[in-house]
């Protein structure tokens, strides 16, 4: 498509050297299209076989039955033979008198909302400062700001496990300051919601900061200066100019932290391990490892996907739009 073929073929009688390319080029348009399709095919096949088919397999297991002998799920890929036993089980887990999963779902939402808002409150000022005021030290600040992004999640959790142990530095500091007594240290890792929420914040804030920084750095400083020149105070410039311009990065940044937080099970396991803080991710992961419950795990993960598909699609559209605007 890139090469526009000449509209009229050159006269066949006396082809000039430059023009001989004319008739050659015409089929090249066709040839190039096939060429691009051939290039895309391996990736497309991969996506079909190892992204779309797996989700259909989950659906098949969710709608399938249980082999009572081996306790293993039997997938049912034909929609006409779908069984609803797993779905009914999950329904009773979520709604009704024996709904043990309902408080877990509510807890997940509460934790994720608090953790993501806290991440924004902590992350925005830091990203804003580095993007706008860091001046000549911007490189240094940027390296420090992004560094946790490159450090493994497990290592970062390990860091807090070390600090929060009963004889760890947090308790030592608290007792030195006289806030707690040395004889009754706080068991931070023994099922404290606060620990889990702060763990989620600590774990996912680098991704938010990265998106916020990239977005805030793109804001044209002359717009902010214009606001100041026209007499707005610092606060009002921020509220009327900077904040509206950073709405998009805030939204995508929040999404990029909220989506994985909702599927998190490891933060909770490492920093609490107690059932009173378990989240929906723990439930799914637990069912996956329990013979007989795998079908319900499949239903739950599909349910989670169903809830998240709209924000996911919004994210895809929003990033597409912003990348089109950027060019």
């Amino acid at each position: 498509m890139s090469i526009a073929p000449p509209k009229s073929p050159p006269p066949p009688t006396r082809p000039k050297p430059a023009r001989t390319e004319g008739p050659k080029r015409r089929p090249e348009g066709q040839q190039s299209k096939t060429f691009w399709i051939v290039l895309a095919i391996p990736g497309i096949l991969w996506l079909i076989l190892l992204f779309i088919v797996p989700f259909y397999a989950v659906l098949g297991i969710a709608e399938g039955q249980l082999n009572r002998l081996t306790e293993s799920p039997i997938a049912q890929y034909n929609p006409l033979h779908w069984s609803s036993s797993n779905v009914i089980n999950v329904y009773h887990d979520l709604i009704g008198a024996t709904a043990f999963a309902a408080p877990i779902a509510v807890r997940t939402i509460v934790y994720v909302v608090i953790a993501s808002l806290l991440s924004l409150v902590l992350g925005y000022p830091a990203a804003y400062f580095v993007a706008r005021f860091a001046g000549r030290r911007k490189g240094l600040f940027l390296v420090l700001l992004i560094a946790p992004f490159w450090i493994s999640y497990m290592m970062r959790m390990l860091a807090w496990i070390d600090l929060l142990q009963v004889n760890g530095y947090i308790n030592k500091t608290l007792s030195t300051l006289g806030i707690t007594s040395a004889s009754s240290p706080i068991d931070w890792l023994g099922g404290k919601p606060l620990t889990v929420i702060l763990g989620l914040v600590y774990g996912y804030i680098p991704y938010l900061i990265l998106v916020l920084y990239a977005g805030l750095d793109r804001i044209d400083p002359s717009l902010i200066e214009a606001g100041r020149d026209l007499g707005l105070s610092r606060t009002r410039t921020f509220l009327r100019v900077t904040l509206p311009l950073s709405r998009q990065p805030i939204l995508t940044g929040m999404l990029i932290t909220v989506l994985p937080m909702l599927g998190d099970y490891y933060t909770n396991q490492l920093l609490s391990g107690a059932p009173n803080t378990s989240m929906i991710g723990n439930l799914i992961e637990g069912q996956l490892g329990t013979p007989g419950l795998q079908g319900q795990g499949a239903v739950l993960s599909l349910l989670l996907l169903l809830v998240l598909i709209i924000p996911m699609i919004y994210y895809v559209i929003a990033t597409n739009r912003s990348s089109r605007e950027a060019t």
Binding site: I3, I161, L163, I205, Q294, G297, I313, S323
Partner: protein, 316 residues
């Protein structure tokens, strides 16, 4: 009327300037003062975000079994301990090599696949291509647990000839990471435009020559950045490898740390493993940063943009 107008204007201006004079006396009214509060907050944030990690690295050198009480410096958890050091414990160094193996395999498969996909999709404009592009970006945002569950089921129930282990882990990681090269290369293709290729074609290059001699050199920075991103995100990956690993022989570092710490077998050896992961990632990032600067020399852009590009910030 005009005279009256100018005098009031002048007096207004005089008033404004006297006000300016007043603000100069009060530094907190200076609109261009340094934002000390914001800067202190940023420093506090950085301390909170980095000091715990520094302490965790420090504890990997602890001369004792505690992860909380400092008992002196030693290399025992790396080399000297004959049983539990990373060097001597087969499970620990198997984890190191498994992580490296998965990173190499995934990068080798995912990057060419993603680059070819990006090129093909970007130039073959049709309903099919945009549908699959959408699917690919969806794979970028789907929560990792949901994706991991799908991978777990497909390898245990449908494609059960692929047993859980290194092969399943690699296939899962490729699917999860293919979006990096695909997204980054497409973004770069949009900024390059078609002029260079058209010029090459006008000068008589065939399609293949135009790609090999013109387009690929222009895409090198994007390909390089995505390789760095894929490699380092495989080092740090946890959920997919946790769900798809089957035995001690194919457990990478992140899963090993999680399983041991969660199972109550924590100790400085895990910190040593975490530190090795950290060093690996930083080596890759530094190689990536220097390499990216080399392949983009002569282009507009500074060190900071190189840094955010290899962190994937431009595409988040």
């Amino acid at each position: 009327m005009t005279a009256a107008g100018t005098t009031t204007e002048a007096s207004a201006r005089a008033g404004a300037s006297s006000q300016n004079g007043a603000t100069r006396l009060r530094p907190w009214r200076n609109p261009w003062r340094k934002p000390w509060l914001l800067e202190s907050f940023t420093w506090l944030y950085l301390i909170w975000s980095l000091v715990p990690i520094a302490l965790a690295v420090l504890f990997s050198f602890n001369n004792g079994k505690s992860q909380a009480v400092w008992q002196g410096f030693s290399w025992r958890w790396y080399f000297t301990d004959p049983v539990n050091s990373v060097w001597h414990n087969p499970a620990l160094h198997a984890a190191v090599f498994q992580t490296l193996r998965l990173s190499v395999y995934t990068t080798i498969i995912a990057v060419p696949l993603g680059v070819a996909f990006a090129l093909g999709i970007n130039r073959w404009r049709s309903y099919t291509s945009s549908t699959f592009n959408f699917v690919m970006i969806l794979s970028f945002v789907v929560p990792e647990l949901i994706f991991g569950v799908a991978m777990f089921f497909v390898f245990t129930v449908l494609f059960s000839f692929v047993h859980l282990g290194t092969l399943a882990e690699t296939l899962g990681l490729v699917s999860w990471n293919i979006s990096w090269p695909a997204i980054i290369v497409q973004a770069r293709l949009v900024t390059i435009g078609k002029h260079y290729e058209e010029a090459a074609a006008d000068l008589g290059a065939t399609q293949w020559q135009a790609i090999r001699r013109v387009l690929l050199p222009l895409l090198t920075p994007a390909i390089f950045a995505s390789a760095v991103l894929v490699f380092s995100s495989v080092i740090d990956d946890f959920v997919i490898v946790d769900l798809l690993s089957s035995s001690a022989g194919n457990t990478p570092m992140s899963v090993y740390i999680y399983a041991q710490q969660h199972g109550g077998n924590g100790g400085p050896a895990l910190n040593a493993l975490g530190t090795i992961m950290l060093v690996m990632s930083f080596v890759i990032v530094i190689i990536g940063f220097i390499g990216y600067r080399i392949v983009t020399r002569g282009e507009r852009g500074d060190r900071k943009s190189a840094l955010t590009t290899i962190a994937g910030a431009d595409y988040g």
